[in-house]
Symmetry: C2
Subunit: 444 residues, 2 copies
């Protein structure tokens, strides 16, 4: 099934009935001389719906979990929301009881300003770990953002820029499509470049079906589709499993990873339900996957210092968990990632990583090949664990590209997966080794 869709401008304000904005409220406290000199990039975003929404979320499964994540998980139980307030510059993680109070106060202040109920506000934060939130700045930011809420693409742009940390560009998309005769829209924005290895679940608890768990990545999605709460959660869970939970930049899972979706029903479609056998749910899910996959790939392409975007297709694993385990071992191997940086098709390091993974591998069965958009036919470097006649120069031609694919077949069963990864460069190390002379520049 390939439903048709159009890409439209406006990201989170493309769906009917949504407004957004982003403002600078000096969360890193440049004004006090205590902050960094990154300039006055907007650092607080507000997204809200004119009407009540059903909501669903996916959250980090890191046991050290930030205060805003705790708030969101608690509010997902009711599953009704109208607004998201989000900030960069401070993760509100490892901030204890005061941190949790501050997260709730962010929501309460937003509710007061927007004249909605406290519990209808969701909160997300990203930035340095272990520093208390500058609540006066946050509150003035919330007031300023609320005054400037708008439904034009430039308003969404400001929100998208506000949640950026080490991102070099904002990440947004929106699509419109036909759902049972009505035009429906899904929009989204996200951020993330380092500490990227999401493994999210609906309640922050680890499902046994995700083997490797490890960005701060934030993603806010809006839709004017009418859909029931349970179906929205099902759709989000499936879409995240096939997008954000399949990316890795550095293998470090954040304390703050959050994906939120608000659905206000303004499109006027017949309510979508996963329990009905109609195709409406399938179409909605497919479109949500498109949005999530495009946003997830933007994160990997903008990975800190990343020079290459690598898609790993792994087939023939004993089962899907083994497929995930094996592909992540390759995607997160420091030696494999550095070889990609140099454009080196080092299948020996890939074999090594497969071998030390916890997936079942039989060396004599493993095939490893390479392809890219210009050479879509897979060049198999290894068949049955042994080098083929394919020349090293031909492999280098593929791996020398900015984007290429690695194909691995374990020939061991029917499990398969796709993982999106980047290379590991000197720029990544330089960026993350920090500058101890200016602690505020140190990432979370």
């Amino acid at each position: 099934m390939n439903a048709e869709y159009n890409i439209i401008p406006g990201s989170v304000v493309a769906p009917l009935g949504f407004k957004a904005n982003g403002v600078f409220c000096d969360i890193k406290r440049i004004g006090t001389g205590k902050g960094s000199e990154k300039g006055q990039k907007p650092d607080l975003a507000l997204i809200c719906s004119d009407e009540k929404c059903v909501t669903a979320g996916m959250f980090t499964t890191n046991q050290v979990c930030a205060a805003p994540v705790k708030l969101c998980i608690q509010r997902m139980k009711k599953g009704i929301a109208r607004a998201i307030v989000a900030n960069s510059g401070n993760a509100n993680a490892c901030t204890g009881e005061q941190g949790l109070k501050d997260a709730y106060e962010m929501a309460d202040e937003t509710a007061r300003v927007l004249n909605i109920k406290d519990e209808e506000v969701l909160v997300a934060s990203t930035g340095r770990i272990g520093v208390l939130m500058p609540m006066e700045n946050i509150k003035s930011g919330i007031h300023l953002a609320a005054e400037n809420l708008g439904s034009k693409a430039k308003d969404a742009d400001k929100a998208a820029v506000s949640i950026m940390t080490s991102d070099t560009r904002s990440k947004q998309i929106a699509v419109e499509f036909n759902l049972s005769g009505k035009t429906v829209r899904i929009g989204g924005m996200c951020k993330g470049a380092g500490m990227i290895h999401p493994g999210m679940s609906p309640n922050g608890k680890r499902p046994t079906t995700i083997s490797g768990l490890h960005a701060t990545m934030l993603c806010f999605l809006t839709t004017d589709a009418k859909i029931d709460k349970k179906s929205l959660q099902e759709a989000l869970q499936e879409a995240v499993a096939q997008s954000f939970n399949r990316i890795t930049v550095d293998g470090d899972m954040s304390t703050n990873d959050t994906v939120l979706i608000l659905a206000n029903g303004r499109a006027g479609n017949t309510e979508v339900s996963s329990s009905k056998t109609g195709k409406a749910f399938k179409t909605f899910l497919e479109m949500l996957k498109v949005v999530c996959c495009e946003l997830a790939k933007m994160i990997v392409r903008d990975g800190e210092g990343a020079s290459r975007f690598v898609t790993i297709y792994l087939d023939g694993a004993r089962n899907n968990i083994d497929a995930d385990t094996a592909a992540r071992a390759v995607a997160n191997s420091v030696l494999v990632k550095t070889s990609w940086c140099g454009g080196d098709p080092n299948w020996g390091r890939i074999m090594d990583a497969l071998g030390y993974s916890n997936a079942k591998i039989v060396e004599e069965k493993v095939d490893i090949g390479y392809s890219n958009s210009e050479s879509p036919k897979i060049l198999w470097a290894i068949k049955n664990g042994r080098p083929t006649e394919v020349s090293f120069a031909d492999l280098c031609k593929i791996v020398g590209n900015k984007e290429f694919n690695v194909h691995i077949n374990l020939n061991n069963g029917k499990g398969s997966t796709v993982i999106y990864s980047s290379d590991l460069t000197e720029e990544y190390v330089d960026f993350n080794k920090g500058n101890v002379s200016d602690p505020t520049l140190l990432g979370g």
Copy 2:
């Protein structure tokens, strides 16, 4: 118990009755123009005993396991040996049936030249993966090394240099100590700088007691102690568990990790046995640990591009497996390792890594502190999950050193461990990103 010992010269030839040498036999085939221009560094080592030895070994648990490892595991069943032949420049991994034949042929040729039995020879290889061994070169090397065998320190030096790959220096030590009235010696040499995250077992199978498994590291140990085979294996297993299996440079476990020990009994002591309650076994084990720990630390200090040596002391885990899991998550976190590179005491990233590990962590219980040899008193940055009053500048002073300690207490149980790690630097990436214009320079 702290038995006294002296450090003596000669490494593997320090114990009575052992000879060694190392020669250049052009395993990378510089002579053919197909090899690299690293110069004529010796690349084949031979170590042998005048008399039969009992032997024990520990081997990589990587499922993709090199041919020489398979040979050694098979020969450990008998547990009798007299010689070790080892080479750098080619790992003889992912080389299929021919690779296995070549490994056995290396042993056979060594046996012929030394006029000993085939099955008394052990083999080890390190270098590029997936390339067949240049057997003519290897054979001429074996002949040349055998002609030059000697029992002087300079002979051991040559063997130690021969097994080096990306190592910047050879790694050797020997000790002598009193064992029930007799002077006994243990000597050893090792190599390893990248692909370092050993997780070895006696048979290449993964014990459930090692959680994270991931260099090529090779280590050859000799002793003139008289000890029975079973006790030698027990001692080696325990010594490796507390040394080589506790180090990590890059988190990538090699296909070739091997530790071998030969004990020829020439010291004339009463046979050491683990089954007797006497203190002889304890003393022997303690001395073997000293040798293995010193050699293991040399590997981490010489880690590819490494600028800092970090010891992680983790206490208070639910159990020892959790301790190992949590400490390895920290030691292998790309973000934690890059922060160390910059001298940044980024406890936020440590908390993050603890949180995504599979060990049980309660954020509100975690303590994180730093110390070094000049400031042995632990400065606690985090107590009960929250920052203390200790100043950032004071923490930076410790982490700015070439060597420092990280102390983590999970306050969650009685499990504990120690892990030796290095930082991740731009030099590491530069070294490993390879040079596709000269494939022979590409590491395995």
